[in-house]
């Protein structure tokens, strides 16, 4: 352990650990990172226990990359503990930045989620057992972490210094972040590490039209490789999504799903995209359309929350479903 090595922690919340893979994917750059850091805590790769982390002095970790959303008390506690121990706290990946895909749980209640996982006919659970939070097993009191009322991004429980979005983040972003930290050349606190503009800015496709007459879902067609997906009626999230991913999905002829979150200056990714879609959809002959015609046209968008907020519901303006209707 060299003296000038950076103390690095990688914390996990509700995560698929794809973000860990991004770090490993640094490939030829990884030895350079590893030779300049000391892994203080990384449950995926290093055998360090919670009590080891608790024993560290506050602020003794230089950099903590936290990936995963906050869905239960354990995630929240771990985030708070790592925040106390770390000088820099980075929301790493879309779940930590915006709530991510687990954030779609905010469309359901705690009870209905448990019912779906433990109570559906395809589940082998004859006694209908469900996690109780606390239970007495013999003489032992067993506890599982309680689920929070709503999924939160990391910033919902602790102060976050930087964000690195993406599902998972690009290795180039991680490399940039490490270089910035190792050379102490950091952007202003609170910045997102990635380009400020939207994906259309780096999209290689040709954009021609300014209007679409019909929505085409991805499975209904094979998209033209050259033309803008929106022009083809496919609801690509590019206009409301941060660039920086090198348009990987677009180049594989898939629509952007919006994993990089909103670009600079946009607070609510879904609302922005809703505005953008409504601006180009159904312009032809609309002066002759009745209110019902317009409503019917918009019915082509079957699941607006799932489409517009796939990665960002917990950090959107309304954050979760309410139960008025």
């Amino acid at each position: 352990m060299g003296r000038n090595r950076l103390n690095l922690a990688i914390g996990l919340g509700a995560t698929c650990s794809g973000c860990d893979i991004t770090i490993v994917d640094l490939a030829e750059y990884l030895p350079k990172v590893l030779s300049s850091v000391n892994i203080a805590f990384w449950p995926t790769a290093a055998d360090l226990k919670l009590k080891d982390l608790e024993a560290m002095a506050n602020g003794s970790i230089d950099l903590c990359l936290y990936h995963g959303a906050i869905v239960n008390e354990e995630n929240a506690e771990m985030a708070r503990l790592l925040r106390r121990k770390s000088k820099l706290m980075v929301a790493f990946g879309s779940c930590a930045c915006f709530g991510g895909v687990p954030g779609l749980a905010n469309l359901a209640t705690k009870d209905s989620l448990l019912e779906t996982v433990y109570g559906t006919p395809s589940t082998d659970n004859p006694k209908g057992l469900k996690p109780q939070g606390e239970a007495l097993v013999g003489e032992y009191r067993m506890a599982v972490p309680k689920r929070l009322d709503a999924v939160l991004p990391l910033s919902g429980v602790v102060e976050v210094d930087y964000s690195i979005p993406g599902c998972p983040p690009q290795t180039s972003q991680v490399k940039d972040a490490f270089e910035a930290i190792l050379s102490s050349d950091l952007p202003p606190r609170g910045s997102v590490i990635g380009p400020a503009k939207n994906l259309c800015d780096e999209c290689p496709r040709k954009r021609e039209g300014k209007s679409i007459s019909k929505i085409v879902r991805a499975h209904e067609t094979i998209a033209d490789q050259e033309r803008c997906l929106l022009d083809q009626g496919i609801l690509c999230m590019g206009p409301a999504t941060r660039a920086g991913c090198d348009a990987k999905c677009i180049k594989a002829n898939m629509r952007c799903e919006g994993c990089m979150g909103p670009p600079d200056g946009v607070g609510d990714q879904g609302a922005k995209m809703l505005g953008a879609i409504a601006s180009i959809l159904g312009l032809e002959g609309e002066d002759k359309m009745s209110e019902e015609d317009v409503a019917r046209l918009m019915d082509g968008i079957v699941d607006p929350v799932g489409l517009f907020y796939l990665f960002s519901l917990p950090s959107s303006i309304l954050r979760r479903r309410l139960w008025e209707v």
């Binding site: 879904g270 409504a278 601006s279 159904g282 312009l283 699941d303 959107s316 954050r319």
Partner: protein
């Protein structure tokens, strides 16, 4: 304004986005003609109903407004900017779908058209919307703070 704990009788608060050229003038006319309508609406003048972004409406709801009124020039061709009102209309119907999926009664957001000469119509719209919101009750966002642990 009086609001009891159960919210079974309350005075709704409405935020109105009125376009400069038609609906704001209609509201002005209603005022100048001393027409009576409920004081529940707070008006924001925007240059065009097409300027109203979906996030404006969502923010208003988050801030606890019980209803949001967007009012502009009559379609198809009254819009000062030619098609801003049509854009507002497309956004509105998509926004309604989004609100429904987010469990908020889409009738809390209303799109109406009132020309500069329709002061009476504007007063009727506000009267009717206020009455409907009274029946709907307080916004679910006002009752419960969201995202709290």
């Amino acid at each position: 304004m009086i609001e009891n704990r159960k919210g079974d009788w309350f005075e709704p608060r409405i935020l109105g986005f009125l376009c400069n050229w038609c609906s704001y003038a209609a509201a002005d006319l209603a005022g100048m003609s001393r027409m009576e309508y409920p004081p529940n609406i707070r008006c924001v003048r925007v240059m065009c109903s097409g300027r109203v972004e979906p996030s404006f409406v969502l923010e208003a709801l988050r801030e606890g407004y019980d209803g949001v009124l967007i009012a502009g020039c009559h379609p198809p061709s009254d819009c000062h900017y030619q098609s801003g009102n049509l854009k507002a209309r497309r956004r509105y119907y998509l926004l309604r779908k989004l609100l429904r999926e987010l469990g908020i009664n889409p009738d809390r957001v209303r799109l109406e058209w009132a020309s500069a000469s329709e002061g009476q119509r504007f007063a009727e719209i506000v009267k009717d919307f206020t009455e409907r919101l009274r029946r709907l009750g307080p916004s679910p966002l006002k009752v419960k703070r969201v995202g709290a642990e």
